[in-house]
């Protein structure tokens, strides 16, 4: 509720006479030619980069990216050259990053959750058709050989053939197209020794004969003669079907994102389509996924809660123990106990994973005399191990925080209570603890939120394992929600981006509900002014 912003020049009254020195000073600092110049140079740099980017995007036919960049550039220019709009000048740079990499990606997650994006479904239909036609190729029976010369260019290997007295050049990305001899100078012809040296590259090169994928590709095994290869599949664009020439099976687009035969067999790769609420239905009705999702959710809450509780109570206990002025060497204890907090968390997880190793680890070999206790491979022991390591990483923080909170409680309170006849335990329980909780509660909440998504400790220590036997997904007993999302999307050969995003959305909803409840409690929103 401070005074409204005054226009920058409002203090300059033209009628008022200023001394020449003051006028010079006022002039130099208010118009600030230098800063205007810097601004112009910076915006010009942005514009130049943006222009280059737009042309590149248009060249690659990425219309959406080009138009987004254009819009951002126009906004930047308007904001920085328009008079006034001062807040926007300060807010814009951060807002751009925030909008793209936080707001947009969250919305995009929502979109992906309604698709079958993932292994075998990660492109559009046209790509799937051409990749199917490329991948099932066989040499055309009885077709003639093409004499071919191999060249090396900026984009890798290229093939040159002669047809109708004209030289045609093609490489892995571009089909054969006429090339004039002058531009061939940008390429170097491969000699026999080069051919031998790069044999694998040469034999794996496929060059499309024309833009029509049905015509097939040329391949060579020796770098001198190439043969035409066509797909055993043929695509009928009118009927939208794939036909296997050998078996005669017809594969149709039945709307599941892949060409499907009548017996249900599919041609892979398929393409990504909108599947509506399929991913969510799977998550809640497919019993092998539902059970895993439920146990992971329960464990996530248990893990976050127990982590906060264990670190807080150990930290509080230590803070009380070491909060005695008569004790010597408190500083040394405090410095040593802060060490785990300074140790990077991901390394902490990895180091403990070694120490708790069942066969060779320090704990089993030395502390338990060679026992084979499955610390990380038994579901319950692994949960205990995760909490134990997280306690090790987290208690120093709570120790520091509680020490600070205890020391900020005025000494007079406990003195007054002593005079009134209170016992030390009563003083602690009735006076110090409530005061301490008031100042520490927000930190406990944010610590809960942090541990709710504490991916590193879980993944570095157990990788979420041991795996749940009955789950239809790659899920383990110590997986929390965020590591579940990561493993479904990025670990293993079957990557399911759609399902992972659906899980993300479910977590977003959980987080939102928790936040709404805690906001109602704390009324944090009302404190904004």
């Amino acid at each position: 509720m401070t005074a409204p912003e005054a226009p920058p020049n409002s203090t300059e009254d033209p009628k008022r006479k200023l001394s020449p020195a003051a006028q010079r000073f006022a002039h130099a600092s208010s118009t600030s030619l230098g800063s205007t110049l810097i601004k112009i140079i910076l915006v010009a740099l942005v514009d130049a980069t943006a222009l280059f980017a737009i042309f590149t995007a248009i060249g690659r036919e990425a219309w959406l990216i080009a138009s987004v960049i254009a819009v951002i550039t126009v906004v930047i220019n308007v904001v920085y050259f328009k008079k006034g709009w001062l807040p926007a000048k300060y807010l814009l740079p951060g807002t751009i990053f925030l909008l793209i990499f936080q707001v947009f990606v969250i919305g995009y997650t929502g979109y992906i959750a309604f698709t079958n994006y993932g292994s075998g479904h990660n492109s559009d239909k046209a790509d799937a058709v051409s990749s199917l036609l490329q991948s099932n190729q066989e040499r055309v029976a009885g077709s003639p050989g093409y004499p071919v010369t191999m060249y090396n260019g900026a984009d890798g290997l290229a093939m040159v053939i002669e047809r109708d007295g004209q030289q045609l050049l093609g490489d892995v990305d571009d089909a054969f197209a006429p090339v004039d001899p002058a531009s061939l100078e940008n390429y170097t012809q491969l000699k026999f020794a080069d051919l031998l040296g790069r044999q694998e590259e040469v034999t794996s090169l496929k060059v499309a004969l024309s833009d029509d994928p049905a015509e097939g590709t040329l391949r060579t095994s020796d770098g001198r003669t190439a043969y035409q290869y066509t797909s055993s599949l043929s695509y009928d664009s009118n009927a939208d079907t794939m036909t296997d020439q050998k078996t005669g099976t017809v594969y149709k687009d039945t709307g599941v994102g892949a060409f499907t035969a009548e017996d249900g067999s599919q041609l892979m790769p398929g393409w990504s389509i909108n599947v509506g609420f399929d991913n969510f239905t799977r998550a809640f009705t497919d019993s092998s996924i539902r059970g895993a999702l439920f146990s992971v959710t329960v464990w996530t809450f248990a893990f976050a809660f127990l982590s906060v509780a264990s670190t807080f109570f150990l930290g509080l206990f230590l803070a009380i123990v070491f909060n005695d002025m008569r004790m010597r060497g408190r500083k040394i204890y405090r410095v040593i106990s802060i060490l785990p907090y300074a140790f990077p968390a991901f390394l902490g997880g990895l180091v403990w994973a070694g120490m708790l190793n069942k066969d060779f680890g320090f704990v089993n070999q030395v502390l338990f005399g060679g026992a084979e206790i499955p610390w990380l491979t038994d579901p319950w022991l692994a949960k205990f191990a995760v909490l134990w390591v997280n306690l090790w990483l987290g208690f120093p923080y709570m120790f520091l925080v509680c020490t600070g909170a205890l020391q900020s409680i005025p000494q007079e309170l406990s003195e007054a209570a002593t005079i009134d006849g209170a016992k030390p335990l009563q003083i602690f329980r009735l006076i110090k603890l409530p005061l301490l909780l008031v100042s520490v509660a927000p930190l406990l909440i944010s610590s809960f939120a942090f541990n709710f998504n504490n991916f590193n400790i879980i993944y570095m220590l157990t990788e979420g394992g041991p795996r749940l036997e009955d789950a239809g997904l790659n899920v383990g007993a110590t997986d929390i929600l965020i590591s579940l999302v990561y493993k479904v999307a990025f670990v293993g050969s079957q990557r399911d981006y759609g399902l992972a995003s659906a899980f993300s959305i479910i977590i977003f909803v959980i987080v939102a509900i928790i936040s709404i409840i805690s906001f109602k409690q704390t009324k944090a929103l009302e404190e904004l002014n």
Binding site: P87, I100, I106, V321, M327, G361, A500, V511
Partner: protein, 303 residues
């Protein structure tokens, strides 16, 4: 605490420390030392264990159990001579990504916090509330969308795509801004607005006030936010492992994980050497800045 206290009068003069018996000493502070020693073992033992493992020239997990029984620097030498696992590059990458993210996010956050704290404009309250709402949702959860977005961006601009550090830094900048702006906004509000007004009357422009005055007055929060974003970006595994693919571009978190996830037990000593070198600068910084960090901790909770 001790039962015999009830028999002694409460106004008794404070006993002189020199004449205390062992029992008295133990009852007042001795037991605290016992807990202190146990605490130190719990806290420091794993760290000593890594150190001893890194100095163990035999290199396997099993042989690392002999605590400081053999000492040699072979693992540190091996660490820097592994071409599949370029440790020096990881170290440099981590520093580069961490420092760039820290500096840029402090700057962007300070700009936004300045305008929220010092200017009154329509949409200000909406802006603050939406920042608060946005930062509730962790960016980590959108990792799939980020991966797909960067894949398609990379098709057009390889510099902004998968396997590029600039792309990763931009992702970090977007994710940290909400929290950072919030932390800074609170601190900016504690700087009296009269200082700005005085400067304005003296003819200083808004940019001059911001760069030459405000930024200096809020230096403590800039340091805290910078340190927090350095730590969070250097210890991030999820986004870094998804975005950075080729070994020479990865960070320490991703690289050291790959050390352990493949050939776990035989590489142990070399991994430990890598862990010691990676942790030393961070721990040194921590102990050096201990006083300031403890104050800043209460502002932004982590771990």
């Amino acid at each position: 605490m001790s039962a015999d206290m009830t028999s002694t009068p409460t106004f008794r003069s404070i006993p002189k420390p020199a004449r205390r018996t062992f029992g008295k000493w133990f009852a007042t502070t001795g037991w605290r030392h016992l807990i202190g020693v146990a605490l130190c073992i719990y806290a420091a033992f794993p760290l000593l264990y890594v150190l001893s493992a890194s100095l163990n020239p035999e290199g396997t997990l099993l042989s690392s159990n002999g605590f400081f029984s053999t000492i040699g620097l072979q693992s540190y030498i091996d660490l820097f001579h592994n071409e599949q696992r370029p440790y020096a590059a990881w170290f440099a990458n981590t520093l580069f990504i961490g420092l760039t993210t820290a500096v840029a996010s402090v700057f962007l956050g300070a700009l936004a916090a300045y305008s929220f704290s010092r200017m009154r404009f329509t949409g200000r309250r909406v802006g603050l509330v939406s920042l608060l709402v946005v930062q509730i949702f962790p960016q980590l959860l959108a990792v799939v969308a980020i991966f797909i977005l960067l894949t398609s961006l990379g098709d057009v601009f390889p510099a902004l795509g998968i396997d590029n550090q600039i792309a990763l830094i931009m992702v970090y900048l977007g994710g940290a801004l909400g929290v950072n702006t919030y932390l800074m906004y609170g601190f900016f509000n504690t700087v009296p607005v009269e200082i700005d007004e005085a400067a304005k009357i003296d003819g200083a422009s808004h940019a001059r006030i911001f760069f030459t005055m405000i930024l200096r007055l809020v230096a403590p929060i800039l340091a805290v936010v910078g340190l927090l974003s350095f730590i969070s970006s250097t210890s991030d595994f999820v986004l870094a492992s998804v975005v950075l693919v080729s070994p020479e571009k990865q960070t320490l978190a991703v690289g050291l994980y790959s050390y352990v996830s493949e050939e776990f037990t035989s590489n142990w000593s070399v991994f430990a050497a890598g862990a010691v070198l990676a942790a030393l600068p961070v721990m040194a910084l921590f102990l050096f800045l201990q006083k300031y960090i403890v104050g800043g901790l209460t502002a932004g909770a982590g771990k």
